[in-house]
């Protein structure tokens, strides 16, 4: 099956419009890039797009009501929604330190969700 995926390169403000032609899911042609970084970006975005997810969860007994969290590294882009759902009903209690593990392995990605803010006891 042939398919063309259109991307915008994010490496610089040029924002080159990239077109990636796929045949049976394999990249056969990349066009539109004007430097090497554009080509590399296109390959990564098509074969293994990843994002870091950041959010907040409630804290009880802390000097703030919410603590910010993130996936320790980026996770596959198609897991973003699942990751948000996994965080939905979580709650922690103060104190919280930066780096505290909130979820050891989020959605089978092998990546932990960790706290990114210090919360002291009220």
């Amino acid at each position: 099956m042939n398919e063309t995926r259109n991307l915008t390169c994010i490496n610089c403000p040029m924002g080159c419009a990239l077109a990636v032609e796929l045949e049976d899911g394999k990249i056969v042609k990349i066009s539109g890039y004007t430097c090497k970084r554009g080509e590399e970006y296109a390959i990564k975005e098509i074969t293994n797009p990843r994002r870091t997810v950041t959010s907040i969860i409630p804290v009880t007994g802390g000097d703030l009501d919410m603590v910010s969290v993130k996936t320790k590294t980026d996770i596959p882009k198609n897991k973003i929604k699942d990751c948000m759902l996994a965080l939905k009903d979580l709650k922690v209690s103060a104190p919280v330190s930066i780096g505290d593990i909130i979820i050891a392995d989020v959605c089978g990605t092998g990546v932990p969700v960790i706290a990114t803010k210090i919360i002291r006891r009220k």
Binding site: L7, C9, C12, P13, S55, M66, S68
Partner: protein, 419 residues
């Protein structure tokens, strides 16, 4: 009256970096005055990642970036007051603040570093017709509600302005379950970073309409919808193009303005373009001993640049306190054809670092152009630039040698050239 060598107004990224730099340069009498209940400033609500790539060579979230500086401030034992609102600064460097514990306090400083940051342009600055219903927020206010207080501002959202905070909030609100219907931008180009357009809008299928603006807000008690119209080259709405979008919330991400009410009280001269103080190579304002750094000076894209600017301000403030600032002839920096402003706007070669970084923005999108630097009539830099855009701050490095080799130099010119 209480005395300190250096008083820093604001405990955000600029203030923290300035305090640490002042300390590391030998000053031990430092006070940070912060009006919020914690140090860190706006970084505390910027929970997304992408901070610190230049400074720490890793991608941190805002709170993590702030924490690295706060830890150092605490480890050094640098004094700070929270919930402390500075209400006056004089050109003699008397600083007055109020807070609940101390009441009204006057401090005599030898040097003051202004690091108050910026604030968001509000609806009042835009002249959008309609009632004054609830549901209209600046993007930064919504960011605080969502990320610090844990409240959602609404369910169906239209964002006016494609500044980075607006883009970041489009993603954030979508992840929290809201429907962001569109982002419209009056300019023909986005004011935000490319990476934010892709990762905050494209990833979630949120449309961005360039050359479009909100022309009417509906709703009496609560926003019920907005009209979005296309604009012409003069940014005037084109009749007949209005399209209605039902929504309960309108976010405004329409620009940031350096917050300089206090600077004006101290008679600090303000640059009408940046709305921040005019500064020299030492980041000294027009008032000797009053320095400025960060978004109070000019609005930055990257916190890393705020920090490095503030490090310099701290260093020069210590030099001033120790009487080591040299008088001397200054060289003016002129910006023309496309370059809107520069920070600093003058250089005294006697005080300059080995490399002076001059930061600036262009006023339009320029493709395949040259960024040129002239020392009087002599062109010393001619850099091919594939793109220059108002959304991305640019910089050029001026080696001290260029200046010391030319004792009669009158001006440095930074300009965009077609060839």
């Amino acid at each position: 009256m209480i005395n300190y060598d250096i008083v820093i107004i604001g405990g955000g990224p600029a203030g923290l970096a300035a305090a640490i730099s002042s300390y590391e340069n030998g000053c031990k009498s430092i006070l940070i005055l912060e009006r919020d209940s914690s140090l860190g400033g706006i970084l505390n609500q910027c929970i997304h990642n992408g901070f610190g790539l230049h400074t720490f060579k890793e991608e941190l979230t805002g709170p993590e970036y702030a924490a690295r500086y706060v830890e150092k401030v605490i480890a050094f034992g640098i004094e700070y007051r929270l919930n402390a609102m500075v209400i006056d600064i004089t050109k003699e460097k008397t600083v007055s603040y109020i807070n609940e514990q101390d009441g009204l306090v006057q401090i005599q400083a030898k040097a003051v570093i202004l690091t108050m940051g910026c604030r968001e342009r509000s609806r009042g600055a835009l002249n959008i017709p309609g009632y004054r219903p609830s549901g209209i927020f600046s993007a930064g206010t919504a960011q605080r509600y969502v990320n610090i207080e844990g409240y959602m501002p609404g369910k169906e959202i239209v964002i006016l302005g494609s500044g980075d905070i607006g883009l970041i909030m489009a993603r954030r609100l979508t992840l929290e379950g809201a429907k962001v219907k569109l982002v419209c931008e009056i300019m023909p180009f986005s004011g935000g970073l490319k990476r934010n357009i892709v990762q905050c809008l494209d990833d979630f299928g949120i449309p961005l309409k360039l050359s479009h603006t909100v022309t009417k807000i509906y709703g009496k008690e609560r926003v019920t919808g907005v009209d979005v119209s296309e604009v012409d080259e003069k940014m005037q709405p084109i009749p007949g193009t209005a399209e209605y979008f039902a929504c309960d919330t309108l976010l405004l991400s329409v620009g940031l303005i350096p917050e300089n009410e206090l600077s004006r009280k101290a008679d600090v001269a303000i640059n009408p373009i940046t709305k921040g103080p005019l500064v020299d190579e030492s980041l000294s304002t027009s008032v000797p001993g009053i320095f400025a750094a960060g978004n109070v000076l000019h609005v930055h894209d990257l916190v890393d640049n705020v920090s490095s600017e503030a490090v310099l301000a701290g260093k020069y403030a210590v030099k001033f306190v120790n009487g080591l600032t040299k008088p001397g002839k200054t060289v003016a920096i002129q910006t023309t054809s496309g370059v809107r402003y520069s920070v600093p706007s003058t250089i005294n070669p006697e005080n300059a670092e080995d490399i002076t970084v001059i930061r600036f923005r262009v006023g339009n999108v320029y493709k395949d152009s040259y960024l040129s630097v002239y020392l009087d009539a002599e062109r010393v830099m001619h850099l091919k630039k594939r793109i220059l855009s108002p959304g991305e701050m640019e910089s050029v490095n001026i080696p001290k040698k260029w200046l010391s080799d030319r004792p009669n130099l009158a001006k440095i010119v930074i300009t965009v050239e077609k060839e």
